[in-house]
């Protein structure tokens, strides 16, 4: 036997230790600096772009889910799966051309939110589709058999039945958007929010972009960088954990 159970467990524990180190070091070192100047504004900017991007991505994602809820996965799903592997960096480059330059939105939170929505579009559409198809007791089919039109069934039965799964997809999309740097760097700018709020049309650094900027400016040891890292980790992890898919409990075999 090449791998023993112990070796498996050791590998796994290695991963666990890495995870714990990443989280732990941040919490301990960052805690003292959580309220470094400027961080509040960036936290607000981060949350604002995330919420805006979710609002922008929800209609198309739910629209696709509604249209394809009763179809077998086909070319649309295959295409979405393919483009969901598009690196965020590429999405950021496109968003710079589309939103910042062509649409004239400039470096702004609106551009950033649209860029994030573009990044999350295939992910959210696939996630929403999976969520509505998971309607295990097929209450939707039951309603169709009553002679209720598909759009009505989707709204009245399928959406409420899959609300939990959809919410978890939204949380995962939010986690991706919250920690995203490449997209926002090209769309929302890198400077910290000033004391006066500049609104959604103003450019503003989000936590992730600011952390990248500070680190790449050689200021990664400062209080602001640590505060950014702390907030990013705490909120990112919270979103990811809250949004983690419910899976069937690990089956207990044999013994």
């Amino acid at each position: 036997m090449i791998l023993s159970r112990r070796a498996c467990a050791l590998c796994a524990l290695g991963a666990a230790a890495l995870g714990a180190a990443v989280a732990g070091v941040n919490v301990v070192r960052g805690a003292l600096f959580a309220l470094a100047p400027g961080v509040g504004g960036m936290l607000a900017a981060s949350l604002a772009v995330v919420i805006l991007s979710l609002a922008a991505v929800a209609p198309p994602a739910l629209g696709v889910a509604r249209e394809r809820a009763w179809s077998e996965p086909g070319p649309v799903e295959a295409w979405l799966l393919l483009v969901s592997a598009t690196p965020a960096l590429i999405v950021g480059m496109t968003a710079l051309v589309w939103f910042v330059e062509r649409a004239g939105l400039g470096f702004s939170l609106v551009s950033g939110a649209l860029g994030l929505a573009l990044m999350n579009l295939p992910f959210a559409a696939l996630g929403a589709l999976q969520a509505v198809r998971q309607d295990e007791r097929s209450a939707g089919t039951g309603a169709l058999a009553l002679g209720v039109p598909e759009a009505r069934v989707f709204r009245d039965i399928v959406l409420p039945a899959s609300a939990g799964a959809l919410a978890r997809v939204a949380l995962r999309a939010a986690a991706r958007a919250f920690g995203e740097t490449a997209v926002l760097m090209f769309t929302a700018g890198v400077e910290p929010a000033s004391a006066s709020p500049r609104g959604l049309m103003g450019g503003s650094a989000t936590l992730a972009v600011r952390l990248w900027y500070l680190t790449s400016q050689g200021q990664g040891t400062g209080a602001q960088a640590r505060a950014c890292a702390l907030w990013l980790t705490v909120i990112g992890v919270a979103l990811a954990l809250a949004g983690r898919p419910r899976e069937a409990p690990v089956t207990e075999r044999g013994r």
């Binding site: 209609p59 629209g63 249209e67 910042v100 330059e101 649409a103 004239g104 939105l105 400039g106 470096f107 609106v110 759009a151 700018g189 890198v190 400077e191 500049r198 609104g199 959604l200 049309m201 103003g202 450019g203 790449s216 400016q217 050689g218 200021q219």
Partner: protein, 257 residues
């Protein structure tokens, strides 16, 4: 049903930039990080005098400012690059010395231009008087500092493998941590464990820059697209006032042109 929503969204999307832009006047400024402290100081003063105007300031570097000016994303750019930019209007603005630094513990405090040139041209450069190899920390293409250094100190021997860093702050960090390393940066990124070298016997001070003695001086220009509109023109005029640059710049390490 969905088509109707899509149509509405498309119309709204088409109108959005116009709707949103017509809110208050918003001027976007971007440019050289070496001159960012001065820009921020002067823009803050301008904001106090013109409360109705929104001004966004982003660093991003000279190359970034040039590119985004041409894209129409930025209204005012600050560039310390010598290269000309087509269809952009250029105005001289401010100067600052570029420091050649080494780690304090290396013990070197002065160097002559000829010595630097021969070190940069050598395939195995060694610090004079020691056997410690020279490690060059450079800036990428698009940096005004790098362009200035290459013009003054000559190109690097192509067989060398320099560390290339995206920002002066990083240069400071790496040079301080690496014995034998040397790089160039502006005064605002100097730290206590670095020594700015005397070049050809001249100490890098503002007085020496003003007197024309210090050889490595970075000049920044303010750029706009041709014939900027009212608010932008007013801001540019305020920024390029020699007296204002002198007053705001001296304590930060900048001089008017």
């Amino acid at each position: 049903m969905a088509w109707r929503w899509l149509l509405a969204a498309a119309v709204l999307g088409g109108l959005a930039p116009w709707l949103l832009r017509s809110v208050p006047v918003r001027i976007r400024v971007a440019g050289s990080t070496a001159f960012l402290p001065l820009v921020l100081r002067m823009v803050a003063a301008y904001r106090r005098e013109h409360p109705g105007v929104e001004i966004d300031v982003t660093g991003g570097g000279s190359g970034f400012a040039l590119a985004q000016l041409q894209r129409g994303v930025v209204d005012v750019g600050v560039s310390d690059l010598p290269r000309a930019a087509p269809r952009l209007v250029t105005r001289p603005w401010a100067r600052t010395p570029v420091l050649m630094v080494v780690a304090r513990r290396l013990g070197v405090t002065a160097i002559r231009r000829s010595a630097i040139r021969s070190l940069r041209g050598s395939s195995r450069p060694v610090w004079p008087g020691t056997r410690r190899p020279v490690i060059f920390v450079e800036r990428p293409y698009g940096s005004g500092t790098q362009a200035l250094v290459e013009r003054w100190a000559g190109p690097l021997n192509p067989r060398l493998r320099p560390v290339i860093l995206g920002a002066n702050g990083l240069v400071a960090q790496v040079v301080a941590a690496t014995a034998g390393a040397t790089g160039f940066l502006d005064a605002s990124d100097l730290r206590a464990d670095l020594v700015p070298l005397r070049l050809d016997g001249v100490t890098p001070t503002l007085a020496n820059v003003a007197a024309g003695r210090y050889p490595l001086v970075l000049t920044a220009r303010i750029l706009t697209r041709a014939r900027p509109g009212g608010e932008v023109r007013r801001l540019v005029r305020a920024l390029t006032s020699t007296r204002a640059v002198a007053a705001a710049g001296r304590p930060l390490g900048y001089l008017p042109p």
